[in-house]
Subunit: 504 residues, 2 copies
């Protein structure tokens, strides 16, 4: 078999596995939207079966043979070529998938399936001790997973790489260290500032039907194509890229807060624009048709949510529309007051409710604690104490109960240790990309004021979306911005924004 | 391998194939409800892949070996046992699936994929000649299919058996002959009658939202469990039994006709009650957890739609509720007038719009013409003329154009020759089962007047639903009613109903 024939066969198999996997995406979407409640048991049978079939087909030694036959051939001569990128990333995924012994995969699935309801119960009772034995079990299996995958330095490198291929503890640590140094005092200064926006503006009465219409209008203005997607209601908002021509977003509405659904919709639409910008007609089912990493994906959602949606220029265009739709709530509100309210900063317990500034502190805390836990420096039983101590240092408030502290996130019970950093990486990448976009397009702010987001979207498509996995995240960052990932663009952006709003 | 071990393995494999296939049911449901329009190409890839995988897994010679190992053992000693029924029906499906050569299956798929849009175009232009070459191709392949499956007597027996296992041309012909003899004069008498209900009542303005609420209320009263299903809007109404705990129905609303959605919802809910009554928790994925045949399935939908929904007793209970909801349209209407209007009989061109009485004439016509076509007695090119001639005989009206004649149905272009009779068999079974149910439960009409449909549903569950495929349709009919299928119960029912309404 020639390398080209092997490569063609490999791509065909990958596309077929992805097509099957994309059926499970619809099953999941349906489960979170329209499925009748008694369908849940059969639904998990269906999703479990498809996941098993996809895994079995992918770890087939024939796939390994095809990769080997394509590797080292002329196909990979140009490392930036489509074939080289596909072969490199399929190899990476194949090795990861085949390195984990079946009994470990099963033990992790079984343990986390039991740990998750145990965590929910512990959180409900706000009793961390109840969760400790489960955290110990999950941690133990997670370390075994890291050992099976292999790593340099410390086990956390293997875990991080699972979610953010190519990222290392050293890189994350360096970016976070710079961020921490400047962000902690910024948040403290905001807290002490006398000048405060009126947060109550966003907590007036906002009719849900009107929120939906406004949110869809904003998503459409961003470039979200409703012929290739739809917006539905769910409990935990998400975006799912099912396949060519079908990328769906989901949100939830709070009739007494305009923020949640509005920025939630922009966030998910940001993810969706990335999925829609991948060249799936051509590359679906191969790395060239997939997003780079969780961090890069999050950079897209956060940029649209924050750098765009929480900018003043955006509201120069959208405020009159919002005032016509929400006449009673916003009729008497100035752009400046609304802009202040949607950028209100207040240290609080819960990560998913955190504002743009304090959010990253929540992530840094988790990164440090997870890492220490995988190195054995913090025992699961001591986690609540450690959490509360550092939380006070970073956010300046005392944790009142475990449910508001180390029991708040589902991640550990689900076995997702190493996942959290991707959220903050997303914020860092977003700021760095956006600073470069502004440099490349000095009229960007003016565009926003006219309701024109096509130039930004075009820039993202050209520089990020259309490349699929041609470049790893760190390479992509250097290619686009000329520099490695840094905390500086994010801090520059935040200092300017909050400096104005809080008169610092 | 012991017969028991082979049987257990066979059942496990069948359940797995069905679980995979049930994912395609959701994909299809999604396609007909919420899928964005650009998702259509990828959706056909997904559905096609799953269909191929299910087929490949099922025609695996290992399945044949397992069936052979279980057959002829003690497992099938009692032919009515669960194992015997499963083995018998899996053998039947396996033989059917393996008898068709791959190139024939592919040729059929390709030809019908092209014939369907060609038919749509021909229907649009009302030009039968355009469709003739496609009908010739489909007919040719359909005959080859019948030859591959094998048959006694004539090819139509093989085709009919595909959709209604165990049914024969002789049986259908005999039932239809009796029906034709009495139905044609009945329809003529109705046409000539001086007494006519006021049909315009059902064509007033009926708010769609209110229709939906009323339809859901009726479905719930019938016993449709909304925790295990849902009602959505679609273009071509259907019911889909996805798996345990998930059976969905779909309808469409006409704001100027209450009939369409109301009886459409009852019809689909009737199908759904059958699906919900199968013991899927235990038997899903095996013949014991599946419906007997299309004809028996249709008997359930038609019974709820006609024998229940178009009965006067039903409206004794529901008319006051309908009058409160549709105050303007129905406030001044008596039960008798409404009952007359929903039972209005008028010979018309289009099968899917036909009333309860003339509907069966449409089917008989198709059965005769299809059968003659497969015997070579009618050539595709002569079909329009033959159609129009017989239509005049049966329904007393001249076909004005092919779009209203032999081009109206999608079936032939889809390769579904042999399918039509199952619709009329459904009507015959419905009447025969319902007559027995009334005999077993003399208070049934009184129940309906109280809005109590639980006794009827219980009877259907006990006699039909819970048996799955334990009995073939004709055996089931004899078991329940003590007689083979006959036209008499349907004619007795129609003569009584229309005799009163039309004063015959």
């Amino acid at each position: 078999m020639t390398p080209q024939a092997a490569y063609d066969e490999l791509i065909k198999k990958c596309k077929e596995i992805s097509t099957l996997g994309s059926a499970a995406s619809i099953l999941h979407w349906d489960q979170e939207t329209y499925m009748p409640k008694n369908g849940v048991a059969h639904r998990s049978e269906q999703i479990g079966l498809i996941a098993r079939m996809c895994h079995q087909q992918f770890v087939d030694p024939k796939i390994g043979d095809l990769i080997s036959a394509a590797e080292g051939s002329d196909l990979v001569k140009d490392p930036e070529s489509e074939a080289a990128a596909n072969i490199r990333e399929i190899r990476y995924e194949y090795d990861k998938a085949t390195k984990l012994p079946n009994d470990l995969v099963e033990a992790l699935a079984k343990t986390t399936a039991q740990a998750t309801p145990a965590w929910a119960e512990a959180r409900k009772k706000s009793d961390f001790a109840m969760f400790v034995p489960w955290l110990e079990k999950v941690l133990d299996l997670t370390i075994k997973k890291a050992e099976a995958i292999g790593y340099e330095g410390e086990p956390y490198n293997a875990l991080l790489d699972t979610y953010e291929p190519g990222a290392t503890v050293a890189q994350v640590e360096s970016a976070f260290a710079g961020l921490r140094k400047e962000l902690v005092p910024l948040v403290a200064a905001i807290k002490d500032s006398k000048k405060k926006p009126d947060e109550s503006i966003i907590m007036r009465s906002y009719d849900v039907e009107k929120q939906k219409i406004f949110g869809e209008s904003v998503a459409a203005a961003m470039g979200y194509d409703f012929d290739a997607g739809r917006l539905d209601i769910t409990t935990h908002p998400f975006c799912t890229g099912i396949g060519p021509g079908d990328t769906r977003i989901l949100t939830r509405y709070n009739p007494n807060r305009i923020n949640d659904a509005l920025f939630g919709t922009m966030h998910e639409a940001g993810h969706a624009l990335y999925e829609m910008g991948l060249e799936k007609e051509k590359y679906f089912g191969t790395p060239m048709g997939e997003s780079v990493s969780l961090g890069i994906h999050e950079s897209q959602s956060r940029m649209w949510e924050n750098q765009v949606g929480r900018s003043k220029a955006f509201w120069v265009y959208f405020m009159p529309q919002a005032q016509r739709i929400f006449r009673e709530a916003l009729g008497d509100v100035s752009i400046d007051d609304f802009y202040g309210a949607i950028n209100y900063v207040k240290p609080s317990y819960i990560r998913v409710e955190a504002d743009e500034a304090t959010y990253n502190l929540h992530i840094m805390l988790r990164f440090e604690l997870e890492r220490a836990m995988t190195k054995g420096e913090i025992k699961p039983k001591d986690m609540a104490g450690e959490w509360n101590k550092r939380f006070k240092d970073y956010l300046g408030i005392e944790v009142d109960k475990d449910a508001n502290g180390c029991l708040q996130d589902v991640h550990w019970s689900s076995g997702l240790i190493g996942y959290f950093p991707t959220y903050a990486l997303g914020n860092l990448y977003a700021a760095q990309f956006f600073a470069k976009a502004k440099q490349d397009m000095p009229n960007l702010e003016e565009d926003f004021k006219q309701g024109n987001f096509a130039n930004l979207l075009g820039w993202l498509r050209k520089n990020i979306h259309r490349h699929g996995q041609r470049y790893r995240a760190n390479v992509l960052c250097e290619k686009i911005t000329g520099k490695p990932l840094s905390h500086e663009p994010l801090m520059t952006y935040m200092k300017a924004k909050y400096g104005e709003i809080y008169g610092l």
